[in-house]
Symmetry: C2
DNA sequence: TGATACTACCTTACGGCGTAAGGCAGCTGA
DNA sequence: TCAGCTGCCTTACGCCGTAAGGTAGTATCA
């Protein structure tokens, strides 16, 4: 896959190669035209296949059967692509949990939904977690979530802190599961097992509950703890109205 | 700062330029010799000054007054440097909160300590959060934290889930404050303010509590909620012993 | 019908990156 | 005196994002 074989690659991937005239313009016809949507979908797939660090515009071009610079006709920079990808997965967070359910259940479902969604795209999530959700779609989602939290019956201030702390927990949990103690790019020189056993007995004793099979339960443990906390606050508010 | 002026840069930065012989070997003497420690400290400073994305071995070399490849004499790769940096800041987490304090207070203090430490190094934290703590020092810290959690009087299983969920919350919170809604590399094309006011009223209403001045309170809100949750679990255990 | 403008995509080139391979000066011990 | 080692430098390779400018095909209008 050197530099010299681009035109070959283009024609090779395409269908119906009957009437090739030989001119560069001809071969362009043979594949589906580019579009923002096509670029985004290919990028999402490439990122999860090769990892965030290995994702590049040039490789994306290879996958799409075009030159790297052609992509810049649809997105002004790589950052703009990344932004579009974040938006792409936020779109999958709609519709949110039905409004006729109790707020506890809605929160639970949203937590699960967000987690399931992002664990399908672990590589992209390491990007999502360290960037903003300031797009229109992101704001819409935050807006809906704030309404959901308001239904718990807390003060406005408590409602916002509830939204924030629940989000903290969610993202922290997913990040840990995604890039955490068990998977992903780990320390270059890990500590040998026998040394761990000798020097860090608590870690060993905790081992069974660190396993991936326990992640679901640990995640729910925290979610329920927080929901109970919010509910308890709401009950106190009712007992001592401002 | 082109490529051709390396040797000039070396001699210019150094002290005591009295006896320069002119040979390349001479000028080397004029600056402090390299060492792992010196490289780590320069790297930490450079990362916070220029950001994680802009951090490179070549720039690190410039700062240190040496060629990029000289650094590879002390670290086999950039990844190894990053690992050393993570270890460097974990070292600052010792000593942990005194063991004679109640576990609630120890947890509170550790939360604050971890948060204060990482907020001083926001750029590095975006790396820490998405990587492992599998070094000896990291394991030692986890080991101590597990002991701290065990003092709450929960079952072994609950203790581990407590450790995990508290860590989820901590890292999620710090990450959000570090790369969150208010700062850092945001969306390339932010939504205009008047559009936010029109379409996302809940976000506007929540605005006052999203401000940076509220972050401390929001952080503590979540910490206390979790600690109360753990304490309540412990009390239930005492009422219904296994 | 032919000129014009626009769209979609390609070519070339630049400066930066991590790092493999190898060189070379100065010191240390034999 | 000389071998070997330490500490650092030189060169080069194949990546990267992207600025600048080209070019073929299509649509529009005279």
């Amino acid at each position: 896959m050197g530099v010299g074989d681009q035109s070959l690659g283009q024609e090779g991937d395409a269908a119906a190669p009957g009437d090739e005239g030989g001119a560069a313009g001809r071969s362009r016809r043979l594949r589906e035209p580019l579009s923002r949507e096509r670029i985004e979908i290919a990028a999402l797939a490439l990122i999860e296949r090769e990892g965030l660090a290995a994702f590049s515009i040039r490789k994306l071009g290879q996958v799409l059967g075009c030159e790297a610079m052609s992509i810049y006709h649809y997105f002004p920079s790589k950052s703009h692509i990344m932004d579009a990808l974040v938006d792409h997965i936020i779109a999958e967070m709609f519709p949110i949990a039905p409004a006729d359910l109790p707020w506890e259940e809605r929160l639970r479902r949203t937590a699960r939904q967000w987690r399931d969604l992002l664990k399908k795209r672990p590589s992209l999530f390491t990007f999502v977690a360290t960037h903003r959700l300031n797009t229109r779609l992101g704001l819409r989602w935050i807006n809906e979530m704030l309404k959901m939290c308001a239904a718990a019956g807390l003060t406005r201030e408590q409602t916002v802190r509830m939204f924030r702390t629940f989000g903290y927990y969610l993202n922290g949990a997913i990040l840990d599961e995604t890039a955490g103690y068990a998977r992903g790019p780990s320390t270059v020189e890990p500590v040998p097992d026998d040394e761990v056993a000798r020097d860090y007995p608590e870690v060993i004793a905790a081992g069974p509950y660190f396993r991936e099979s326990e992640w679901d339960k640990t995640f729910d443990f925290g979610v329920e703890l927080l929901i109970e906390g919010y509910a308890r606050l709401a009950k106190e508010n009712r007992r001592h109205p401002a």
